[in-house]
Structures are given as structure tokens and as C-alpha cells.
Subunit: 204 residues, 2 copies
């Protein structure tokens, strides 16, 4: 059986939990306290030298890190990813996955983490927040424009690009990001939440 090394507050972990729920795949979940650095122990680093969750442990005992690589691997052959021959549409999915990890997550997810985990405010954090707010809103504006003429991110069909972007967007308010100016994003959030077997981010 698949095992997911995870933290329940992580949107990156939630991406994988959500897809597994929607695929109907059973798995065992192992919780780590990231504030106590439980993903930086020698035992965990032997599983993922990068010291991060989510980490998928496959049936053969091998490990796959990186939430969006896990999404792609699990979605292969399912309705959540365009088929193998559709290179162009798959490339569009992939570019949104990289956008999420480069332009969205380091801004919106990081500020949410600082706030919700009550991370002590260092001078670097204090100076970083305005930049991360601006960059996070820039990412939301890109999403807003894209969704002006689309119901889902790629090919008018719900899939892993939506899952990856939904994870931290639907809880952006927890990081102080107001979604008021983004009606297309809010309508898309509602459409994602209405998908069959959608689970809340708090569900393990």
C-alpha cells in the first residue's frame, strides 16, 4: 500500500491527499511535526535528503518527493491528467505546476505558514512580508486573468493543475491574502470544491 509522509497543515501535503481521495486509492498516512524538525532527523533524511514532506513511499519501498511530481505520477493514466500523447496540453499542465511552486507557494503559502505556525518575526521576515504580499497578489492576478475565459486551468477539465493551485489559494486568507478582488478565482474555488470526493485541507 502507498504510504504518505505528511503534515496535516501542509497545502503541499493536501494536494496529494486530495488527489488520492479523488482517485479512490487507499494509503497509509504518517504525520510529522515540522515545527519540531521531525523531517530533519537522520531517519527521515535517509528517506528524503531534502528533508521535506510530502514524501510518497511507493509499494516497492522507493520514495518520491516534491508534491507536484507526486501529483503527476499518481495522475498518470487517470482523468486528472491529459493522456500521454497530448504533449501540448500536458506541457500546459506542467507550466502551471511550476508557476505554483515558483510564483505562488513561496509567497502565499510561506506567509500563511509564518502566521498560522506563529513563527517568531525576525527582521528578515518583517522585511520579506511586503514583497511576498506583492508577489502573491501578482500570482493571483495571473490566475484571475487566465480564469476570465476558462472554467479550469487546462483544457476546460478539472485536473492536477487545479489541485496544485487550489491547495494554497483556497486558504490564502489564512495568510492575510484577500481574495475579494479576484471573482474569477473565487468562482473557480467553488467549482473545485464542488468536485466529487473533494475533501477539506484538515482531513487526514
Amino acid at each position: 500500500m502507498l504510504r504518505l509522509h505528511d503534515n496535516l497543515t501542509s497545502g503541499n501535503g493536501y494536494k496529494v491527499r486530495l488527489l488520492l481521495a479523488q482517485l479512490g486509492r487507499p494509503y497509509q498516512r504518517i504525520e510529522y511535526d515540522i515545527d519540531k524538525r521531525e523531517t530533519r532527523t537522520p531517519a527521515f533524511l535517509a528517506k528524503n535528503p531534502n528533508g521535506r514532506i510530502p514524501l510518497l513511499e511507493l509499494e516497492d519501498g522507493s520514495f518520491l518527493p516534491e508534491s507536484n511530481a507526486i501529483l503527476w505520477y499518481l495522475a498518470e493514466g487517470s482523468p486528472f491528467l491529459p493522456p500521454a500523447g497530448d504533449h501540448r496540453r500536458r506541457a500546459d499542465v506542467m507550466q502551471w505546476l511550476f508557476f505554483e511552486q515558483y510564483n505562488h507557494e513561496p509567497n502565499i503559502a510561506t506567509v500563511r505558514y509564518w502566521i498560522t505556525h506563529r513563527v517568531p518575526v525576525t527582521p528578515l521576515i518583517e522585511l520579506s512580508i511586503p514583497a511576498k504580499r506583492a508577489n502573491g497578489h501578482a500570482a493571483l492576478a495571473v490566475m484571475e486573468g487566465h480564469l476570465a475565459t476558462r472554467t479550469f486551468f487546462v483544457g476546460e477539465r478539472y485536473g492536477i493543475a487545479d489541485i496544485a493551485l487550489y491547495a494554497y489559494t483556497h486558504v490564502a486568507g489564512e495568510g492575510g491574502f484577500d481574495l475579494g478582488p479576484y471573482p474569477n478565482v473565487r468562482a473557480w474555488i467553488d467549482r473545485v470544491a464542488a468536485q466529487p470526493r473533494c475533501i477539506p485541507i484538515t482531513q487526514g
Copy 2:
């Protein structure tokens, strides 16, 4: 013919130039001055609303952003990416691409950019540099450990995971990152540089 919207100092652009050279695919290159914000004009934002190079313009006139998504798209069916059926090995390639964009590029490439483009040192930049140095060295340490028992990143074969990581690693010194402590990384850099049709980062 393919058109690459590019900036010659960009390692992200170089990834695409290097793969295109090694694939022997002809293309037209269009240079943008990123310091003059030429990728934030209305004309460019109509091509890529995220305002970034590299941006690949395909023969059908459509656009594909995100350097690593471009690599994947161009490498499909070539020796630089495991074949479509090898899901497990392709997932390993993909996790390194996400590692590069999340753990490597925002640290090593960003400091190189600040230095080589003589970006004025704001208080935020000054406070960020030590954290980016630490995070960049952590990424190099992960690479060093992985390469202790391997010649290339995935499947003992040169491919796009190597191209993506080589781009900013081989010029890490320009950002003040000393590769002295990473002999496995340095040996791998030599192996990549020795690949057929490898071009320098300065070549358009």
C-alpha cells in the same frame, strides 16, 4: 520555426538553448533586456501574463512559459527524457526539476542575478543574502550526496534533470557560491560540459 523569447544572461533561458543545441533543432532567438523591464510591456504580457523569459513560441503560434516545462516538452521522445512508459523514472526527473525551481534557483540564481546585474542593495536584499547562501549550500549538499553514487541525476544517463541543474550550478561562483566543498558536483559539471554539442551559457 520555433522562437525562443530569451535573455542571454538567464540560466533558465540557457537550459532551453542548451537542449535545443543538443537536439539539433533550429530556432529564432529574441533577446529582451530584463533590467529595462522589456518582459513587462503590454506586448510581452499578451504572450506571457507572468512577464518572464524564457518563453517558447511554438510553430502554431502558441506560447509555453516555464523553463523546465519547456525542457520536458522539447525532450519528449528524445534520449534526454525516459520514454513515456517509464513512469517511475520520469517522476524522478520531474522531482529534480521541482527541486531546481524551489530549492536551487531562488537561492543560487537570485544571488548571482543581484551581483552580476548590480542590483542596488536594499535592506531586504542585505538581510536575504545569508539565508539564500545557507539554502543554496543546502541544495548543493543534496546534489553532492546524490552524485556520490551516480554519474548523472536519473538512470545513469544524461538528460533534462542534468540540464536544469547544470544551468545555474556551473556558474554558482558568479553568485559567490564556492563549489570547492562539492567534489562530486564538480566532477558531474565536467561530465555535463563534455556532452556532445554542449554550448556555453553566453552563446545565443
